[in-house]
Symmetry: C2
Subunit: 526 residues, 2 copies
């Protein structure tokens, strides 16, 4: 029997608060540093490893975190989730994004429909579309092949698919599986759509319109923008557009689209990269096989999240260390720092995933919580960030926990040797150096050149960023955020905080405002 | 006589700590809200306005902030800076980036050289180059015009110029002044350079190599990478590359470049967008006139920063409100949220500008400070962010102050009307709505749909994002960060925090490691 309790009512949390803190400088920088790096490591799927040696934990704290995992029933709650219980209580919905990539438990049947079958059936349909487009069976009116695919969507319909596309674009080029170039239109700023349309050949482009409800203001506006452009170019918009939406949305059965692919209310936007939301564009861009591999990586990583032994469940471990940092050590933000240019927008995706899921002040029952929940998430790829905001991370007045990601091999297979090392080696040397610099610091006579150290980080290390390892990486963070939501006892699957702005914006457009809002509207000439 | 004192030794700071807090819900959401929006507004250059009605200030707090500005001698310190005093005491350097765009005070003569003349002479030289490239006088070996310009640089040699290029790319297209497309190579990850080279026609590309010292690892490595590619394409690298560096660097007098343009030690990387670091690529991309207008906007905004009256000095006002939020109200981060897709990388530039400048724990004299300094800075363009991390901003457990930017008109001049409003109107309606939603919140029976409000923001409003208004916007933030550094009594112009990582990375590459560092190196196969 699962019970949902606030973090500060758990015995293990009390114990955690009392546990002796780890002095990271002492732990990492002495003789035992190497041992620690060897020991504090957990295997992930896709050849990845989660190494947490440079976190402020030791065997004692890990033991308490394991108790906390048990007492908070994290694995049981995950099981309830993938078994189809209504975990998104606010919106009275199941949470089934894991089923888009695998069957983790018993079949989940809703209204007579096996949901895993439903998602794989959608995948089969857009796999078929992708094959027909690549094979020249589905073409433009002139019978010419489509060369570009453009996603129209915002939030979860944009950030995840965009980050995943960028993560694999060069890998696909190198492996001769880049079938079509992808572009993304998201912002209601008309310059966004105009600039994308200006950069592509619309006659050879296929557009993927993504809106679960079929009512997202930005997306419908941009659809119109694109249709205008197609019509002006003498093209029939309905021959250039597919929809990804829910079966009950106004887009579902429209003649305006070549085809429609379905998701449902059980797939939250920010968890939808492995559904049709990511699947249609990624299958078109890279071919269905690449997308299948990506799903296989995610599914394999999901399976690890069922593991009860905390030390063998990297997502749960990462989650609990994060809670310890946020609630006991009091760190208000976390930086995500992939040493891979291909992951340039991965931090932006995690920013949504994490902050929209756990940036909540009430628990699942609507009661205010008395402890901090989700932190601010930000990040840029390394080594770029080193020449930017790392100054504050090293010597600022607040400590910011860090999440590094690094790969032994690059994607394009081109490199140069300068001063006896390749660029890839320099990249990897930098991330190794940063972990130790943050943890150990350095004394100096000149206080301006002094590094306090004691700044915690973990690193996920892989062989190469591939479809499989990318899937595992994505799943890791999705499940980490889910576990943290369980610990904080919040509903990680709704987003009521985005509603008020929408309501007020409508009022502005209808000129039904007064007071400050009216004045701002005037200042902005609306 | 200027005296440099810690914030917590100032009388006005003590007064500020005791001042009654403003209840933002009460102030903004009653009848007086509109009055407040009208009143709490300061004119900027380039047709911009800084509106701070939704900040937690009132006449009383503004009076104390004005005292603080006086007591901390902010205007005098700015004067000392632009007059050439050695403000960057750590590195014993002057701080002269303002002279790249105007003469704010008396001439600054160093070793017999008038520095304003020095910078304008460089500008004259790269203006000439740009005109000759555009006019087809400087061409590739085959006598064909260059069509693309690629910057090779990292940190300040990348983020600022890249953000400025993106900010004006569509404006330039629309105004028929996009002379060349620009690309950027920054990361030591070899896939970064490989992908850029893959996307351009190298035979018609000119590369701008930017490194003040001429020794930046990433940049020299990427230079080699590019030279390899040029050579393999049968081209002479020295006919395709110019350098931006200091006069004393190894790159300055090399035959490997078509030309070299100089900056000096008095221009910090993150403050270098208005120097040759930004000037060469922006003049090549948009034509010299556009870059001149950008400088004029920055110069006009700089002039406002000399103003003693706090209410007429928007950068100083913004700075002091930020200090109040950081040190008295205790907010640890700030979000930058431009409602303009063209400003997509402006937050990343401000992230460097701010965090690298003021992420310090010691004051100018090397003594530890006992108060928080620079906050974490992050952000994405609106409305995209609304569908991503705004959930936490509205309903999270921590308050994050917000900096909005919005323009009445878009850049491309193309728009659609949907439901009686244009996309641009929707964009503006959203930013107006967000300010009020954050400030005022909303009661609801369902606690999950409740918005506490009291979340402070300011907005910079402009007619359109143009070269002039972009210059003003950039200057505003540069000077804001400078004033905050003065208040915190830190040196905003060095970055010793980036050194340790570099030293350790070299050690890794030389295989001179032990302990944890050796083990990480092994895990990463270096």
């Amino acid at each position: 029997m699962i019970s949902w309790k606030n973090l500060d009512t758990l015995n293990a949390y009390e114990e955690l608060e009392k546990a002796e803190h780890v002095d990271l400088v002492e732990a990492m920088c002495g003789e035992n540093g190497a041992e620690r790096v060897k020991k504090y490591s957990a295997s992930m799927a896709g050849g990845l490893t989660y190494n947490y040696a440079a976190k402020q934990v030791d065997d004692e704290i890990l033991k308490v975190l394991a108790k906390l995992a048990d007492e908070a029933q994290l694995v049981e709650k995950f099981q309830a989730l993938y078994s189809g219980e209504v975990i998104n209580t606010g919106e009275k919905r199941r949470v089934l994004h894991h089923l888009t990539r695998g069957q983790l438990g018993e079949a989940v049947v809703v209204d007579g429909v096996d949901k895993r079958n439903f998602y794989t059936e959608q995948q089969r349909k857009y796999t078929e579309l992708a094959n027909r487009v690549h094979g020249g069976e589905v073409t433009n009116a002139a019978g010419e092949k489509f060369t570009t695919v453009v996603q129209i969507g915002i939030g979860g319909s944009d950030l995840g698919p965009r980050a995943m596309y960028l993560a694999l674009e060069n890998w696909a080029k190198k492996n001769n599986t880049l079938k079509m170039e992808a572009r993304f239109i998201s912002n209601v700023d008309p310059d966004d759509a105009a600039a994308v349309l200006d950069s592509i050949d619309v006659a050879h482009s296929i557009f993927v319109l993504v809106s679960k409800s079929g009512t997202t203001l930005e997306t419908l506006t941009n659809e119109s923008f694109v249709k205008d452009a197609l019509t002006k170019a003498g093209l029939d918009p309905s021959k250039h557009m597919v929809a990804v939406t829910s079966e009950t949305s106004p887009l579902a059965k429209s003649d305006n689209y070549l085809a429609a692919f379905f998701m449902d209310d059980y797939i939250g936007g920010r968890y939808s990269s492995t559904s049709a939301v990511g699947g249609v564009i990624l299958s078109l861009a890279f071919g269905p096989k690449v997308f299948e591999d990506f799903l296989a990586g995610a599914a394999a990583e999901d399976a690890l999240s069922k593991e009860r032994n905390l030390l063998e469940n990297p997502a749960m471990l990462d989650a609990l260390i994060g809670v310890y940092e946020r609630n006991v050590l009091g760190y208000p933000s976390t930086a995500v720092l992939p040493y891979s240019q291909a992951l340039s927008r991965f931090p932006a995706h995690l920013q949504q995933l994490d902050m929209e899921s756990n940036g909540k002040s009430v628990n699942r029952f609507g009661d205010s919580v008395d402890y901090p929940t989700g932190p601010v998430i930000f990040g840029e790829p390394g080594t770029n960030g080193q020449h930017s905001f790392y100054q504050l991370l090293h010597q600022g007045t607040n400590i910011v926990p860090l999440q590094f990601v690094g790969f032994k091999n690059n994607q394009m297979g081109v490199d140069v040797v300068i001063q006896d090392s390749t660029s890839q080696q320099k990249l990897c040397a930098n991330v190794a150096a940063q972990i130790v610099a943050f943890a150990c610091g350095k004394e100096d006579e000149n206080p301006n050149k002094r590094f306090e150290g004691g700044r915690p980080s973990s690193i996920i290390i892989g062989e190469q960023l591939t479809p499989v390892s990318l899937g595992a990486l994505l799943s890791h963070f999705e499940n980490k955020v889910m576990f943290q939501g369980f610990v904080w006892n919040v509903n990680s699957f709704d987003q009521e905080g985005v509603q008020l702005g929408k309501v007020l914006a409508k009022r502005v457009l209808a000129h039904e405002t007064d007071g400050a809002l009216k004045m701002y509207s005037e200042l902005l000439d609306i």
